[in-house]
Structures are given as C-alpha cells and as structure tokens.
C-alpha cells in the first residue's frame, strides 16, 4: 500500500495509507442485499468496478453527470404508468385575463389527493424567486378529497402576498409557477384564432415555469416524515416534488385552452401532438448547493445507487448484450440529434455541440466494437477504451444509457433509495478519539490537503438574504453577517477539528463525547464524519467557498438527479431548463400507454434525417 506524508496548514500529521477499498466502507446490510440479488461472484466483480469518489465527486465530474432511469422523475413516471395513476380535472374557472381557480383529483394506489390551484395574472413577468410578492400560479397539494370549504380556505391563504398565509397538516405544501409571458400569450392567441401554435415558434418548449415546492412543514404544512415509508404513492423522496412539476405542465396546458375559450367561442383546443411537446420550465439556484451539502445521505445514497447500477452494466459482456445493442445505438443517435439542437452552454461547461461530436465518435466506435470485440469483452472495457478520445460529458451520457439498458438491475437498486435517504445522523458518543482521527485521515484526506492560507481558497460564504430569506452567496471581505454563514464549507471545520484533536493532545482512548462537550461548535462536523464512514460518495470533494468555484456545476448535478436532460446556466449560480417534453399525458398514464419521451426531437428538425 502506498504511503505518503501529509501536510495540512503546516502541520505534519504523519503518514497515511492509500484509500481503503470502497467495498470495505459499505454497510454489511447493503452487501447482503446485493448478494441476494446478484450472487456473491457478481457482487465481487461489480464492487471492483465502483469508481473512486476522489475521481467522480469533484464539482467538475459531478457537473458532467447525466439523468438516467434512476433519476427521480423517471422512477416516478414509471410508477405512475405501471400503477395507472388517475389524474382528472374536477373544476376550472377562469376569466379572460387568466385569474381563476382549478381543482384536480388524483387517485393513486388506493390513496386520494387533491391539487387546489389559484391563478392571478398582474401583467408582469416574474423570475420565480422566493422574494417575489406572489406567483402567477399557486397550488396546494392536500391529502384526501378536498371539499369546497377546504378549497376556499387554501385559495384564500395562498392569496396573501409573499407567502404570508398559513396552511395546516392536511396540505403537503404549496407549489408555485409563473407564466413564460411571451410563450403563454402566443399559445393563447393561436388557440383563440382557432389554430394550433406553431411548435417551431415555441422555442422555450414551455408555457409556464416551475417556481418551487414549499413543503415539509413550510407555512404549517405536513411533515414529510408523516408519509409512511412504504405502501404510499409518495414514500420515495422527491416524488411529490416531481409529481407537482408534472402537474404544472398539465395546469399550464389546461389554462391556455381555458383562457382562449373565454376569449373566443371558436377557440381551438390543443391537439395531442402539441400537448405532448410542451413541457414545463424550471430555474434553480444557489439553494441546491446548500441542500446537497446539508443532507449528505441524500447525495451519498443516490450516487452509490447509480454507481452500483453503472458497475452492473459495465460488467455485462458484449455477447450477453447483443439484443440491447440496437437500443443503445438508438439512444446514442437520439442524443447526437438532441445535443446538436441545444445551444451553449457558457461558463466553462462543455458545449453541447462538442458532446454531440463526441457521441458520434462513440457511435462509430460501437459500430466496430460490436462486431470485433471478444465475446467476453465488457461494457467496462468499451468505456475504458474511449476515455482518452471522448470528453467527460459524453462518457457520462454513455454511462447513463448503459444504466438504462438494464432495468432488471435498476429496479432493484431503486428500492434502496427511500430507506437510505431517510437515515438520520446521530453522534456516536462512545467512539474513541483514536478512531475518530483515523476516520478523518481515511475519509477526509482531500479536505486536509486544501491550503486555506490563500485568501482565494476561502473567498465566498452563503447566507440568508433579508429579501425573504433567499439563499445568496457573498464575499467574505465585502458582505456583512459572516457570523450567520450558512453551512456549506466542510473543509474548514474538518481541518479545525483535526487540528484541535492533535494540538490539544487528546488521548486516543478518550471518548468523542468528552471532545464535543469541550468543543460544541465541532459536534456537527464530528457527527458528519462518523455518519459518512459508510457513505463513500456522501461528500462533494471540492472547495465550495473558493473564489474559483462555480455553483452551476453542482446545481446541474442536482438537476440530473431530478431528471433534467440538460440545464442552461444563466449565470454562475443559476440554471434554467425544460422538463417533461414528450412525457405521457394523464390519459396516457390512466390507460397504461407508456411513451418513450427521452430527448425529444426539436420540431424544427422533425422530418430531417
């Protein structure tokens, strides 16, 4: 085993070994489950294929990750289709301007829910920020069938500006959306004239844009933990958020039709092709970085599940995958077309045209490999052969497609996610100081190695703004209230903790409880270090407060977990995109009509080869 001296902030902390194998860090219970599913021999193979967190958990690597069948939107849509969730509009009342109320009922797996929608259009485009006075659309998602009194109550509460109203535990939370004014009015005008909108003119791909889901207790809404862990349609984390995103698409489509109908007795309705094409917009900002750091078990769970799925795929042989080749080729061709049509992105991210070119090369290489490679050559061999000729984004897109090729693996692995994400962190008080020091050296070497003597390495800090508490990023030597810094920086506390353990000469046999009582401000980082000892992918291995750090890299990663195909950065800390273009309609889901809606064709290019 390779050893090398480590220097951190000028301290000689002794020799450390190379990282312990990943398999040794995984919980025994997880390994048992994997062996039950795949057999001991196979598990041994795929564990050897797990990628090093030092390699893939950097912001640059994370930024290249792509959505796959494990992404929350995809697992939700699959469930909705298989279980034939039944969404129906109960009521929609709107005036010619677009002010009104709608109610939707959902029956899913024996459970009943109601979505209560209020719309109010004041003529101004809204960015969809928490600090906005209101939103064009607000909706409350309640358990059970809401009667008229509950509908009225929620509509009134949502009408209070700047989230000033309150709900109670019958509501899971409130969600907001805003018009894309140009697109929205364009579609209404077309329908009013009795025609279908020209999809080539609808460049954004959506008419309304999601502005967030405020659940889990906000404004008095239900606690997420009140949802049972099993046998409930929304027991999987983020499925409720994704469902509401899906509903915003439907609501937007229903309202453009309804407003057009109010304006003209001969207004058209959207045809099926148009309804399927239009998606829902989304913007995401700094808060996503904070969430990923704040809840490392989410990050660790999702990444580990994906890495195991990828390892499963990469250990499959060429000869065993013959029947899936065509599917992979089809996906790659679709991806080439998809990325070729997308503009940008800027901000030092890989341009989409480059990804398209790389994927063409992958296709050409696959074409040859499928006929010439040895029978026992694996997908892992194929990917390894591309690593010098293809960029990271294209490789991760290929990885996502490989994961998708084996639903028999991903279905099993997806079942690990809900339970693992619900794990809560507790400090282990009787761990010894000696064991804690070893953990830090084993798992946080990357943090100890960061040189914090350079001011640029600790340039920024996150904070809650006086503008409705929105998360912002400030500069340490410019902006005030550093004492209220939002926790984002793992490196600083890890370094401080390690330094205190060494400088204060704690005995190896002393308990962690004594240390944290003496240093209560380090209790959080100690419990985090302990908690993540079995989560090799739980930390973003980067300096998130460095001057050079771009939040968009981590934001794009988080969006890929949700199911975004591609987000376009609008600044270093803000990413926009569109979701659900081509996705099934509620009727498709109700009637069990699945659709392959990944990477839809841009209407400008329909009919082109």
């Amino acid at each position: 085993m390779r050893s090398r001296p480590l220097q951190a902030d000028g301290f000689q902390v002794g020799l450390i070994e190379s990282p312990v194998s990943l398999a040794a860090r995984l919980p025994r219970a997880l390994l048992s489950r994997l062996e039950d599913w795949f057999g001991e021999d196979r598990v041994s193979l795929l564990l050897g294929r797990l990628r090093d967190p030092d390699e893939i958990m950097t912001p640059d690597s994370m930024s290249a990750m792509k959505s796959c069948s494990l992404s929350f939107l995809h697992t939700l849509m699959k469930r909705m289709a298989e279980q034939r969730w039944d969404v129906r509009r109960r009521r929609l009342d709107v005036d010619v301007t677009g002010n009104g109320v709608a109610v939707y009922d959902l029956v899913a797996e024996g459970h009943i829910f109601t979505l209560i929608v209020r719309t109010c259009w004041n003529g101004e485009e809204k960015p969809g920020r928490r600090m906005d006075q209101t939103a064009d659309f607000l909706a409350s998602f309640v358990s059970g069938r809401a009667d008229d009194a509950l509908v009225e109550r929620e509509v009134s509460a949502m009408a209070i500006p700047q989230w000033g109203g309150r709900t109670d535990h019958r509501s899971y939370g409130w969600t907001a959306a805003n018009r894309s004014p140009r697109s929205f009015e364009y579609v209404v005008d077309a329908l009013e004239r009795g025609t279908q909108p020209d999809l080539k003119e609808l460049s954004s791909g959506y008419v309304i844009r999601n502005a967030g889901f405020y659940g889990n207790g906000r404004a008095g809404a239900a606690n997420w933990l009140s949802i049972p862990e099993r046998d409930h349609p929304f027991s999987v984390p983020y499925h409720m958020d994704m469902f509401l995103l899906y509903m915003w698409r439907e609501i937007g489509l229903d309202f453009v039709e309804a407003i057009a109908a109010k304006r003209s007795a001969t207004a058209a309705k959207l045809d099926g092709r148009t309804r399927h094409h239009i998606g829902v917009g989304n913007s995401s900002g700094l808060g996503m970085t904070v969430a990923l750091v704040r809840w490392p078990q989410w990050l660790g769970t999702w990444c580990l599940t994906r890495e195991i799925a990828l390892a499963c795929a990469k250990t499959e042989t060429r000869v065993a995958s013959t029947e899936r080749m065509e599917s992979l080729c089809d996906r790659l061709k679709r991806a080439v077309r998809y990325y070729s049509d997308l503009p940008g992105p800027e901000h030092v991210l890989t341009r989409h045209e480059t990804i398209a070119a790389d994927l063409r090369h992958v296709l050409e290489t696959l074409d040859s490999w499928r006929d010439t490679a040895a029978d026992d050559a694996t997908w892992g061999d194929f990917c390894d052969g591309l690593s010098d000729t293809v960029g990271r984004d294209a490789l991760e897109q290929l990885n996502a497609f490989l994961i998708d090729l084996y639903p028999e693996s991903t279905d099993k692995l997806a079942s690990l996610v809900p339970e693992a994400m619900r794990r809560s962190r507790e400090l282990v008080p009787d761990m010894t100081i000696g064991d804690l020091k070893e953990l830090i050296l084993r798992d946080y070497r990357w943090a100890l190695e960061v040189d914090r003597s350079d001011p640029s390495s600790a340039w920024h800090f996150w904070y809650h703004s006086e503008e409705a508490g929105e998360q912002r990023r400030g500069e340490r030597h410019v902006d005030p209230c550093l004492e209220y810094e939002t926790f984002v920086d793992v490196i600083g506390p890890v370094q401080l903790c390690h330094r205190q353990l060494v400088e204060e000469k704690w005995k190896d046999k002393d308990s962690v409880a004594l240390f944290t009582l003496a240093h209560p401000d380090l209790a959080y980082i100690v419990s985090r270090i302990q908690f993540l000892r079995e989560e090799p992918y739980g930390e973003i291995r980067g300096n998130l407060i460095a001057k050079s750090f771009l939040p968009i890299k981590v934001i794009r990663f988080f969006l890929s977990i949700f199911g975004f195909q591609s987000g376009i950065p609008r600044s270093v800390a803000w990413v926009q995109g569109v979701l659900l273009q081509g996705a099934p309609s509620p009727a498709d889901l109700r009637e069990g009509r699945p659709r392959d809606w990944i990477m839809p064709v841009n209407p400008k290019n329909e009919g082109l080869s």
Binding site: R166, N223, W224, Y463, H464, E466, R472, L514
Partner: protein, 281 residues
C-alpha cells in the same frame, strides 16, 4: 382569564426554522443544529419550548458562547458545570456523555449544576429511548416564578425504551435516595450538600451489560414518590405519543411565542450587496 391566541405549527417547520432562530439568539450552527430537535420535540411533548425561548431569550443569548466544564469526581461519576446554559442546548451533549461512560464502564452518573430550562428534559428522555440504557433523571429547576407553571422538581425514568415520570413530591428526599447509589463512589455528599446550586440534574444510567447497580436503578425508580397533582407537562408517559402525534399531524403553539420565534429567524437575514444579488440571475 382570556384565552391565549394559538397557531398550528408543523414539527418540520420548527426543525427547519429552529436552526435559524437559535442562530439568531447567538448559537453556532453546530449547537443550533443539535438543539433544534430539543426545541421541536419539547414543544411537541410539553407545549413549553417556544414560550421558554421567548421568556428566557436574553439568558440564552448571554450563555450561547460559554462552554460547560467537566470534572471527574470518581470513575463513572462526572460533575458538569453548565454555567447557566439551558438544557435546550445541553441535552444532547449530556446524553452523549452519559451514554459513552455507561457503555464503557457499565454504569455512569452525571451531576449537572447551574443548568436551566428543565422542560427540555422531555427531549433528553425521548432521545434516550433508543439507546438501550436504563436511566433515572432527577431535576430541580432554577427558573423564577415568572416562568410558571413550571413545577419545581421532577423525575424521568427510561426503561426498556419506555418513559415514565412526573413532578416530585419531595425533591430533597428523592435526591437523597438517589445519592445512596453513589455512596460507594464517595460522592454522596457532592449530591446532597447544603447550599447546592439550583438548576441541577442528576443523571444515572445503566448499560445492559452493567453490574450490581442494575436492580438498584429500578428500585430507585419505585422508591421515589411522584406528586399525583403535578403539572400536566411533567407527565412523562404522555411525551412519546405527543411527539408521534406532532410528527404525523401538527402542534398547537402559543401565537406570541411563535411570533417571537420568527423574529429570531429573521435576525440572521443579512443585507445583500448588488454583486451578491446579481448572481441570482
């Protein structure tokens, strides 16, 4: 007497915003992050947490940066000087220390002095249920009459994952009975000494593997007389169900205390520079 205005609050809401509110009172993120569960759980169990924070905010702020000190009186017996810090923040640390020592030595005792905020004993005991320890906790509060209806003293027992306890009939007698368990350690006097500080807890824990004192903790529990007319918040048997109900449903809290809580949240909202705002897009 006019009814106090109330508001329906979510448990998750208290946990999320509580970190910010406690930071607004001066606590570090690390301390706030641990204390927020004490806040939410105690509010769910007793309805007193938000009112306590509202009434004792100056005291909480004044001690938010101080650090408790620890003195070993005998093997497995530790004195903690909480330096007037509240059990709100001390609860998780005390339970950590008690657990570590009990697991290491088989049994442990903590004598905590100059500690405030005894209603947060609810959180202490709710957390303790999952640890597999047998625990007896006695407490005497230091708060003034202005914080009524907090009763003067009480006891909580955690055995086999269940909680029991209530207000004490005779606090002095109860403490003396408990002190006899530690006679062999030579610390009985430290527990029963005259002029002892108010705001005290005596925490006794026994691990499943522990030795001779095991039966004695259960015997102690049976010996100590509880006051049948004690205030309802101190009925420990009701705390687990109240907590479960709060997580599944909601908590009814004092409106003015909740308003104060939200004021504390807003204390951490900082002015924003143009450069900072521009990054939002």
């Amino acid at each position: 007497m006019s009814a106090t205005a109330t508001v329906k609050v979510s448990y998750a809401e208290l946990e999320r915003l509580g970190i910010h509110a406690l930071r607004g009172l001066g606590y570090s993120f690390s301390v706030a992050e641990r204390a927020v569960r004490a806040l939410a759980a105690t509010e769910a169990a007793t309805g007193l947490a938000l009112r306590y924070i509202s009434s004792a905010s100056d005291q909480l702020a004044a001690t938010s940066k101080t650090v408790a000190t620890v003195e070993t009186l005998a093997p497995g017996v530790t004195r903690v000087d909480a330096r007037n810090k509240a059990l709100l923040e001390m609860s998780p640390f005390l339970l950590d220390l008690l657990t570590a020592e009990a697991r290491q030595l088989g049994s442990a005792a903590l004598l905590v002095e100059k500690c405030r905020g005894m209603p947060f004993i609810a959180d202490f005991s709710l957390r303790a249920r999952r640890l597999g320890l047998t625990i007896v906790a006695l407490y005497e509060q230091a708060e003034t009459r202005a914080l009524a209806p907090f009763a003067a003293a009480g006891a909580v027992y955690v055995t086999d994952g269940a909680i029991a306890g209530g207000a004490l009939s005779d606090s002095g007698e109860a403490w003396a009975q408990a002190a006899t368990l530690l006679r062999a350690n030579g610390v009985e006097a430290a527990i029963t000494e005259q002029g002892r500080s108010t705001g005290r807890l005596l925490l006794l824990a026994q691990a499943p593997s522990g030795g001779a004192t095991k039966m004695n903790l259960l015997t102690l529990r049976d010996q100590i007389a509880l006051d049948p007319n004690g205030p309802s918040w101190q009925c420990a048997q009701s705390w687990p169900a109240a907590l479960d109900g709060a997580i599944r449903g909601q908590i009814v809290s004092d409106q003015s205390a909740f308003d104060f809580f939200n004021q504390c949240v807003r204390r951490i909202w900082a002015p924003t520079s143009e450069r900072s705002r521009a990054q939002q897009g």
